[in-house]
Subunit: 383 residues, 4 copies
């Protein structure tokens, strides 16, 4: 069996999640390529070395530029903050490496557009690029998409999406990098809003055509780790209305101030024949309302998406045995490895991720101008 | 339109619930007879008078023997504690009055048997008797029965029934009449266990053939209202296993010590083709699992039993508008009035209620002897 | 005990609900005035007569102008469609009658302003006016308000409100009056959007200061009852973002196209110390997250709002016994009767309802202009 | 860092789950010993070789007797059917290897007693033995135990435990080894009933003192894989009542015929001060009712047991990110490795598992005799 030799840049939260996926993927799925965890890269030598041991990489490095040029690597997995995605990702593609890049693809549309162009160019040489919108790989979400695609809910009228967290409700929570625009690009919007934009477009097969938005920063100054305080330069919450190109209307909300909601990614679609609803806090379940059943028997059905008939699940345990958050990354890596082996383009592509970035940009402009902002579909399509 | 002139004996909790039903039934349902709330009877003159005003009765009385002999009454509604049911109910039937008797029918099998015999004798003269197992009239419960009867869950394998309350968890809760065997007959067993025995037999269409039981009194002494303390002479909790005559096995539990469960009457049936589950704390919902749907779409469906297609509901509000506890009594009275008008025997009959009493008696004997006790079906049938 | 003699105009859905309330209120609550259901009024003689019998009114009438002038009436209950509220309500107040008016108060801000002015004038003479936002009287909603007012969730950051129905999803559903702008004023917005505007302002104690909105009519032509088809002239769905004067940001959605959601009025508030959430399909429950509990014990708590400690509930059944939709009207009438007896102004006042109308108007203008529209608070305050 | 060299016997469902645990444990947890997956053993050479590759073992073997004698192994992990546990486990302990044995410990009390005796003897030499009741290691279950131990629910009155599956509802499901008494020992009772016996004793800290039971085999003949049919010699369902030595009463039910319930392990405890409830289908949640809160605020709280404050969870992802079934094995192995490194006895011990076996035996004898059967505590204690 051939190998797929992986180098990962960044080893914090996302790096740990990706490592678990690379370690596990070939033990859960039968694939034509075997992932090899060749090297992990981080700026700090000592921490990178410790990460290699803890996360299961064969070696460590501190210079990502050297890593991407290595001859013994096939793929670069970019797990750093968003401000470095473009530089690393484009360079890695140029060095002939497949690239898996964490979301959001970049901190700006301009950067994302460069990355998408680089990916398109690389694609011509059989070099693959994929953006890590892992929630697409929740089995219940993939099932939702299947039901929609099969016409089980009919014509979609409503999209209702929230991503609710609460980890910065305390005003004394420090000014971490995710609260700084220069590093993170935006706040709740890019971090978690990006997920619900991608996920709803993925499950509906429709694209957002315009938005009306509002953003808010509730706590504007926070303690610095070294003492003193600094300014929060990103949004704490982003709310927007939208229209989709298939005729649906939508509400979106991303916030880090929803006390008690830890990772509340929820999506509901209402169609002319039925509805589907998902809540990541109960990620093994999908609610499905089939409006074509006899009237007295209609109801929201709690499908435990753990049957072998459900996407990805035949690889795991018997029906009724839940999987967890990390499995979404294992599934993501599975699909990527399979695409590379099959010489196909994996999804979501960098172009897909660029389109998400364009939506997020429209949201920011709408919030700034208090007007409806059309999403420039032509730009995304122009790639 | 003809009238059905009602006299009610007892005006505490059950009396208030029945009054709300009598007041409402003709306004919600189209019936050939109009209920007239003629007289309410209670031992204490002043309290009976107040009850008449508060609950909407035209007059009050203190002597139930005089009440049942009145010529201007058609029906006697017995809402007193269980120790008086037999005497009042039998006398009322003998006086030619239809009788609605609260459950449990009586405090002993012997009494219940006399009442069932009296009802059978009265029946021959067109006098009707019905026992008030009101939970049969929850729309979601009636729907459950319909689904079972239509074969939607196939052959029933399992019955799982609990009735959980917590109102006497505090050891300082006083020694009320419901905790005295001489008045109440038994504790949780007769008060709420009777409901789940009746309800499960009603929805399954099967009868219990034997039980293995255990009862417990956790707090054996409680304060008396007049000072000092007295002995609790009934069970706080009754648990039993059972077999039903259609081949199902069952667990039952009735307790007043389930902290946090206020009125947790729950029933689940598992059949060869599907399952149904009900929880009175969410009385407008029925869960239904249809094992004949495509595997990837199977799940417990939350049917909001508020559609006009659901039992009793076309009389009320548009779909999605919940009804409450008291509606079960309105439905009970509706069915009773309709049966009287149609010259049919209402259900549950006194014989049905006797059969429940026989089951409860078997439970008590099983708990006392720590052995399996068959339910004497032949006795019930012998009536 | 004194009487409060009531005349009701209109006897369809709302008329039936109000009748149940008037019939029940004195039997559930101890009040200084006794409601007397004197007369019901409808345009069609035969139907009005039937309604009187069915709903329990002493008499019927067909001319509301005559009704409001009667000397034997104290209060006029306006249950007609919105286009007649202003005329009837103002005339009734001028005739010295207390007025209970169903929501929305009127079909336009201009009408609502006239009504509020009339109510203010009448108030000076001890004549009371109240608008029927019945959901304020759900015990769990009233509890929500109490928790917020007591500071239990701290400073409110987020309001999330939807009112989801699905009764016109079928394109063959006919063009009823609620789908005609000339009669109903607006569609989902005024019918159910009005409820969530009022309810969220009620529970938060904050007022909406501006909105950004989008409305949609999915099915633009529908069958007429007499054959042929006609144009739907109201919104099927209304979505809007808002800011509240206490610093919260909000999303609102009202729709009649949410397949499977029958009466899904849901409100969630996230505050700096906790959160509360309510869903009318489970109207006896309130979810409460107390962020001040020990971290390992925090969670959304399902409070069964059926304890005697909860608003309105001591009048009803023991803990754990659900109430239903109609009880909200009984509570509404209870509060109105109590206010009249106490010579106090009931709430929500017509001025409160006018403010809701101003918000709805801003929503319509925002949807039309695709811009942020401030809510003219000064106008409401000017009354 | 020292190594713990593991040999695993058996590589089916449990073998795959244990492999995932051994592969992951050192990447999730900081431990003084590093697990090395040295060898996997299976009867069939080809399948064992494939399992080694798929599951991540360095080598494979076919003779367990040779495996347990190897000098390069520290621990033997027994994942075979129950009829071989005693022989392999006792031999491995005799060979000086630590042993992790899947549950049930054995197919009979006699065998389990021998194993417990062997473990006690080995313990004196620092050789450790542990039985794999993995559900103890669900964070929400461990939290349940902590709350109980801290007195948060007071004196326990009720235990309510079910383990509901449905994988053999179809009468055409074949006669697999789990349906043959000679291999599996018993049916639902030993397979899943064992789990709820262990789990409830674990969380309550109380032992079962007697049982009253009923077992049933609904489908008595099933197809053989080679054609024809054979007799089902185990129970399909086992139901029993019990008393615990701390005064609680209990109901237990284990079945493979609960249509729609896939892996429904549910436990509820009601105490004098509160209650806790758990459902494995929502394994990241614990419901907790705190009866000491203000009455108006009491309710079952849904604790998302994914906070760093919760047992095991600081090793995983941020709050709100669910874990899955396989994590219970990773936690089990973590605790075992930690105990071995700390030279402490891991739990549950073989003696603990013997006690469970004694309870199961009492259940079978009670079902056979239709009488109450005391659990022979003295025998367990005599070890």
């Amino acid at each position: 069996m051939g190998q797929l030799r992986v180098g990962m840049v960044g080893h914090a939260f996302m790096g740990a999640a990706h490592s678990q996926a690379w370690r596990t993927v070939n033990h859960a799925f039968d694939l034509p390529l075997s992932a090899r965890m060749t090297v992990v890269c981080g700026r700090d030598e000592q921490r990178a070395a410790a990460a290699a041991v803890k996360l299961g990489w064969e070696s460590h490095a501190t210079d990502w530029r050297a890593v991407i040029e290595r001859n013994d690597l096939d793929l670069v997995d970019v797990c750093t903050p968003g401000d470095t995605h473009a530089e690393i990702g484009i360079a890695a593609l140029a060095a002939g490496k497949h690239v898996l890049c964490e979301k959001p693809l970049a901190n700006s549309v301009a950067e994302a557009r460069e990355m998408a162009a680089a990916a398109a160019a690389a694609e011509a040489h059989g070099i693959r690029a994929m953006c890590g919108f892992n929630y697409r790989r929740v089995p219940a979400v993939a099932l939702m998409r299947e039901l929609v695609a099969a016409g089980r809910i009919g014509e979609i009228r409503h999209v209702r999406a929230v991503y609710l967290q609460d980890w910065i409700v305390d005003p004394q929570f420090p000014l971490v990098w995710r609260l700084r625009k220069d590093v993170a690009g935006s706040g709740a919007l890019g971090d978690i809003g990006a997920h619900i934009v991608d996920l709803t477009q993925f499950v509906t097969g429709q694209l957002i055509t315009g938005v009306s938005a509002l953003t808010e920063t509730f706590v504007r100054s926070r303690p610095l780790s070294g003492g003193g305080s600094g300014e929060v330069t990103v949004d704490d919450a982003a709310l927007f209305l939208a229209r989709l190109d298939g005729g649906a209307v939508a509400t979106y909300e991303a916030t880090r101030f929803a006390t008690g909601r830890k990772n509340g990614l929820r999506v509901e679609l209402n169609g002319s024949l039925g509805s589907v609803a998902f809540d990541f806090e109960r990620m093994n379940e999908l609610e499905f309302y089939d409006g074509t059943l006899p009237p007295a028997e209609q109801g929201f059905s709690r499908i435990l998406a753990t049957e072998p008939e459900h996407p990805y699940m035949s690889a795991w345990w018997p029906a009724g045995h839940p999987i967890g958050y990390e499995h979404t990354f294992t599934h993501e890596v599975r699909d990527l490895v399979a695409a590379i082996a099959d010489r196909k383009a994996p999804t979501p592509s960098f172009a897909d991720a660029l389109q998400v970035q364009i939506v997020l940009d429209a949201v920011e402009r709408s919030a700034a101008t208090a007007t409806w902002v059309p999403v420039e579909a032509e730009l995304a399509a122009a790639l």
